[in-house]
Symmetry: C2
């Protein structure tokens, strides 16, 4: 042979990547305060300090599922991150979780793969729940009377769990399409000390709460403009593909404050996508969450306003959570 392999060796050997399993990642997570790093990530993104290409997507028909590839970096940082997250909704029937995935950290200086985080979708879930808490912190009503959660899956539970970091409210109404699903979700929430009402009527959920979170995979709107009371904040986080759709376009149009995690990404795969298509909202009536956090754009300016946070999930959240986990593990290793 010519010696391609030998040359490859002579050219230098890579330092093998470090593989972190889920237990190691969860242990590190437990010691971390992540709200501030996620907020800083949104700010860096909206300031243009990040490089975040469009989301890569693979769709599957039978069984239905999707894979999203998000990648990017903060300029001048140590790593760039590639995150793959999958969602296959029929997995429950196989005794498997609906989500999977991993995060990868490469050096910005050498391109070498340094860390493989076998997080199985957990870090995506956590950073998604944290984004909901960040949105509620910056846009939620001053006094949350009641929380309404639309959806009965894992993210419904995690959104409520992480909201406890930003509001003392422990009164919740859960909406779902099926009684057994709202019952099971409500039972989990009661066990955690919440006062829980369940309903199959979205109007009822919206009428009794002023902090609403939609966490469904709906492809036609659940929440209408007529459902929502003045003074309400809505975080819509279900939509992450162009066909998903939770908020009626009239509601998206009428909101006093409309905040996207990424205007570009929401225009392609968030609620904004549908509102732009319907002509009920234009891009110049949307600001980014990072601008609100940096106080470069107004959030809620009056108690009676209706605000919407349209969250599709941006790679900068993956960058921030992956970085925090790896830093925590490195600090631990250094002190051991």
């Amino acid at each position: 042979v010519v010696g391609g392999h030998q040359f490859e060796r002579r050219a230098g050997r890579a330092i093998p990547a470090r593989v972190l399993d889920r237990a190691t990642i969860e242990a590190a997570l437990g010691r971390l305060e992540l709200l501030a790093p996620i907020e800083q990530g949104f700010v860096a993104y909206s300031r243009g300090e990040t490089v975040v290409p469009p989301v890569g997507e693979l769709l599957f028909d039978d069984p239905p599922g999707d894979a999203h590839i998000k990648c990017g970096y903060i300029r001048g940082g140590e790593h760039f991150v590639v995150k793959i997250a999958t969602g296959f909704y029929r997995n429950a029937g196989l005794g498997l979780p609906g989500n999977s995935g991993l995060m990868l950290l490469f050096s910005q200086r050498t391109g070498m793969l340094e860390y493989v985080l076998l997080e199985e979708g957990h870090l995506t879930n956590v950073r998604t729940a944290l984004a909901g808490a960040v949105a509620a912190r910056w846009l939620g009503p001053a006094r949350v009377d009641r929380i309404a959660i639309f959806g009965t899956g894992l993210m419904a539970r995690m959104q409520l769990e992480y909201l406890a970091r930003v509001t003392p409210c422990r009164d919740v109404i859960v909406w779902g399409r099926r009684q057994d699903a709202v019952d099971a979700c409500g039972a989990d929430m009661r066990r955690a000390g919440y006062t829980v009402e369940t309903t199959l009527d979205p109007a009822r959920a919206a009428a009794t709460a002023n902090l609403l979170v939609t966490t469904t995979a709906a492809t036609s709107p659940i929440l209408l403009a007529s459902h929502v009371q003045p003074g309400t904040h809505i975080t819509a986080m279900g939509s992450d593909t162009p066909d998903k759709h939770e908020l009626d376009v009239q509601l998206a149009g009428r909101a006093d404050v409309y905040v996207a995690d990424s205007i570009g990404q929401c225009a392609e795969r968030g609620e904004l996508h549908h509102a732009l298509a319907a002509g009920t909202r234009s891009r110049d009536r949307v600001v980014e969450l990072g601008q609100v956090i940096a106080e470069r754009a107004p959030g809620r300016t009056a108690a009676s306003q209706i605000s919407i946070a349209d969250l599709t999930g941006v790679a900068v959240q993956d960058i921030q959570i992956a970085r925090c986990v790896v830093d925590a593990i490195r600090r631990r290793a250094a002190t051991d």
Copy 2:
């Protein structure tokens, strides 16, 4: 807490992904005949049996580098594949290889991550070299008098090495920009039993050979139409970003046969990209390698023709090599 994590556990635990290190992958590779699977991959791709989204790309300025994310699947197959490959050309100064990367196999039925191949860019190198051999097999002259390799890096050596699977020719001329680089590359090739001439003049290399392979990161053309003799085949594999460019647009225009690994991808980031922009070649004068292999498009039809294979690297090659490696490791495990 509400029990997001507990619910996540109740919803089923994932089977942990199997992590394969480089030594395991190299051992499996040594036992595999990969030319046929790579050919079948090109055929499946050109028949539309695959789903291959556009390449994801991250570019870096200082130090210069790039990361490419390729993903896709063959419909009805077991897995989908995500491959990340990086190239940072200044790594040699740090004693590190210029390339890194990994391949990931997920279930098409559940989205679960099943295999992490820590191949450090090696499988990308091998499948790229195999594609060069496939192109030479289907498009090369019936009798190869001499091989000209343009470039002096790892891929220059690997292309020659893998060409030995499809031609008995052991006479080679190596072109490079620097004498020390062609000397080192030539020495490796001589050690492997080749008769080697080195040159800094591309016209000399092209004039004395009838199977040419360009493996550079050039951003302005190395090879001109006037350099190339009738009866020559050229495989251009250096270009994988829109700014890379190895073949003069007149040469791309005049070739009798122009074959792309992927017309869509070459139109964006191959030599075809430049020829289309210059108007020297149109899309209807290009066929795909998979069509030639399936004999649905003619390749070379006369000994005096000039043919070009424009290879940018398609995810289906990653799918095929990753699948073969994993299958070999599973077979091994089953018989142990």
